[in-house]
Amino acid sequence: MPSDPRMQESELIPHLFRTEYSKIIAVLCNSFDLRHLEVAEDIASETFLKATEIWGIRGVPENPTAWLYTVAKNKVKDYFKHNAVIERQVKETMKLNDIETALDFEFSHQNIADSQLAMIFSVCNPENSTDAQICLALQILCGFSVEEIASAFLTNPETIKKRLHRARVNLRNGNFQIKALSDPEVRARSESVLKTLYLLFNEGYFSKTNDQSIRKDLCFEAIRLGLILVGNALTDTPQANALLALMYFQSSRFDARTNDRGEMILLEDQDKSLWDRGLIERGNHYLVNAYEGKEVSRYHLEAAIAYWHTTPTGGGKWQHILQLYNQLLLIEYSPVTALNRAFAFGKVYGWEKGIEEAEKLSLNDNSHYYSLLGYLYTRVDIDRAVGYYEQAIALTRSRVEAETLRKEVRRLMGDI
């Protein structure tokens, strides 16, 4: 849609498209028990098409959002009145009276929130691969265009289209239906919902693309969806709060973690005045909520680590971080966690001990393994440090990372 030239004339419509498109689809699906997502999507798209046409001639109405909702509602009415074929399909599941009642639906704040929540649970279906779930979430829950998703994943739109198509077929085969959430359903699927939001956030935070605005959008969309979760008593769980805290803490460092050439800056070397205090405060708020129960999930541990990173050095900070990484590894192994733990180990017990822990990992095809060893050896043996950095450069697929490492090698060579 954003490639439509008429839309580019106005900044407003792309913005509204991003924020309202997914809300309209969610409310329509929720109110009409629509099994065919495409019908709701068509109505939402037609609504935006009409907006571009009419607003271009008559100017933007006073309350554009309300205008969109009214048009969408009228289009639904038209759809039920004139589309006899599909009406028959709907009748199988809904009596005509129900349709009349349903037509009284409102785009109220509450209905939008409830519908979006139900939609999140429908879209995050473990039947689909995690990549596919993220793509679907971006398209259906966040209103991203295929082109935007493609650039976030650094791939071409055709690949994304295929991925989305397969994912939708899976949803349909799995009897896609969005309905009011019940407690058992929430419990059965919340793990997969949280995982999708976590990955969506990480896709933005550690994305391969250098487009900062897309990366931020992905992260803030994940936060927005997380806020919908904690906004409903059914899904306001300690885990959801922990995930939200983690996302706020990470986001607070968005502007500090890269320089103007897009190169990564290590946490310790970041200009802390660039950290967003407001986001850290929100992180603290949700972290406190997260620890109201007894449960300690991986999100709790990761949020707690991110919390300690916001605090000044001293007071056993790195011992806390190390113990949290220890616990995280016992819950779930990941190479990133193992590498971060080795770094924390070096921080607490000295770089030689950190090197010992790191060398045991033998992640011989992982560029981060070699760049960690390079970093740890910098204080111990510069020749070896350079050697490890060169292995990391040979292995990395990120141009920016390679450039950052080359610069470090030049700095070390100059030091000799």
């Binding site: 011992q319 220890n326 616990q327 016992l330 733990r341």
Partner: protein, 117 residues
């Protein structure tokens, strides 16, 4: 990769966690040692199950029908806990078992390959 059971043994009368006069700092330091060690194995993706500690008291039943209290009345070293790890060989498993905190308290680690039923 094969699975191996690590069996930790020590003398309850000298192991710090079972001493009544232990300080919270001592306990915390001990916990950190164990966590660092076991997470070091997990970091190599070689921990199958961190296992458990055992409560000191127990019963021992014998073929002659006798039932006695505790395992530790007759032998000095008791089983204090166990973990499951995986390794390519018994040699590698023994290497992983090295550095176990129980070794610094006169305890021992027995490394046994699992013979799955």
């Amino acid at each position: 990769m094969k699975d191996f059971l690590l069996i930790y043994r020590a003398d309850y009368s000298t192991y710090p966690a079972s001493k009544p006069e232990r300080s919270p700092e001592e306990m915390q330091a001990l916990t950190q040692k164990w966590m660092n060690w076991v997470a070091g194995i997990a970091a190599q993706e070689k921990l199958v199950d961190r296992g458990n500690r055992l409560v000191p008291s127990g019963k021992v039943l014998k073929s002659n029908g006798s039932v006695s209290d505790g395992p530790y009345t007759e032998i000095k070293e008791s089983i204090m806990g166990y973990s499951l790890i995986k390794a390519a060989s018994l040699e590698e498993a023994s290497k992983l078992a090295g550095g176990c905190p129980i070794l610094s308290y006169d305890g021992s680690v027995e490394v046994r390959e699992i013979n799955a039923i």
